[in-house]
Amino acid sequence: MTTPIMHLDCDGFAEALADYLEGDASESVRSAVEGHAASCTACAQLLADLRDISTEAAALPALTPSRDLWSGIVERIDARVIPLDAPVASRTVVRRIWLRPALAAAALVGITAGITHYATRAALSSPAATQAVALKPPVAASTVPAPDATISSTATERPAELSATLVSPRRAAQPVERRATASARLASTAPGADVADPVFRSEISKLRQIVKERRAQLDPTTVAVLEQSIAVMDSAIAQSRAALKKDPASGFLATQLNHSLEKKVELLRTAALLPART
């Protein structure tokens, strides 16, 4: 039994062309397309043109960037001064991360302001109470390993219950090395020490520079959110510093200041790693 021969006019040819080129046409349609192309110059030209376009597209030469892109890449890679808690897994996650610092900053202000108010009021009204807190036995060693030996008095003054409440599950899950690093930083917030310690100062300065340079690449809305968040964090940091001036023996306030600085570094680091114009 022979397959009936199919004939196509130009419209039928045009309709069948896509399937034919994709190899989806049946044998009879293929024959009909080829038969029509053999007898119609215009349709044959169309078929040839489409094939040429595909062939030429596959052979298009590589394009070259107009400038060196590596320096910008390495800058962003280098922004990871401190390991992130979690890698930036996707653009979606990055977007969500933006909300977190903003919310965290708002929460920080509230918490820090409340704590500052409470602590400074307590310190002013009852110096003895402050002294009692400061003289509680060190407990940090139970949660922070050996490197804490270098922690100054402020860190070791933290009461156990404070340590338990202030360490979030996220922080608790951090590797020992990171907690130790954070603790080491805390040392520099000890009474008498310059709270803007070199570690934070250096990181913040470097990250700020990167963010400044990347500003043009970022979405203006993103930049606005970033600046707002930084302003809120700066406010929280300033409040903590002011409170620490009044109550320099408070490990609790030092911890708050440390947290605020860490949050700021984290936010800047996130900004530095943001893909352009998300």
Binding site: A18, D52, I53, A62, T64, P65, P83, R91, P275, A276
Partner: protein, 189 residues
Amino acid sequence: MTAVALSEPVKTVAAYTADPDISLAAGGDRRAFERLYHLHVTRVFSLCARMVNDRTRAEELTQDVFVRAWEKLHLFRGESAFGTWLHRLSVNVVLNERKTEGRQRSRFEDDANGDTIDHLPGRPHAPGDRMDLEMAINKLPKGAKRVFTLHDVEGYKHEEIADMLGVTTGATKAQLHRARMLLRQALTR
């Protein structure tokens, strides 16, 4: 990225790949990663430049791709060639980019149902001219351009493109044919 965080993935990469630069880069060696960058940057940039209409934007996306590659390199298991993995990562970065309103779009991109594109003035009747083809691709509607670039330029199969774009293969085939017809029209008028 710390050595601690990458210690296990490094072993995984090393076990699967013969290219020492990939293992080294996964272990945090920036010089090795730079060598990989130089090896692959033109292909990544070419894809980005053809998928978006703006070379500056394409350069930014290329940087995004390599930053993302640095972050995800420990996930590369060597089951495909590194270039293939990186290329797929590039496609994902380009496709996932969130376009802000009216940004970097040609007027043709907004014409989702358009059935014509500008012809290229002063050109002879010669489909296949590479420069003109490049220009004509840039003028394609967004959907048609993506499918055409991924299929005819980059060589992906319809099933892969449909998976990337979250559409059916029927839709990608229709877009591809539309793109070819529009290109032919632009190149021959």
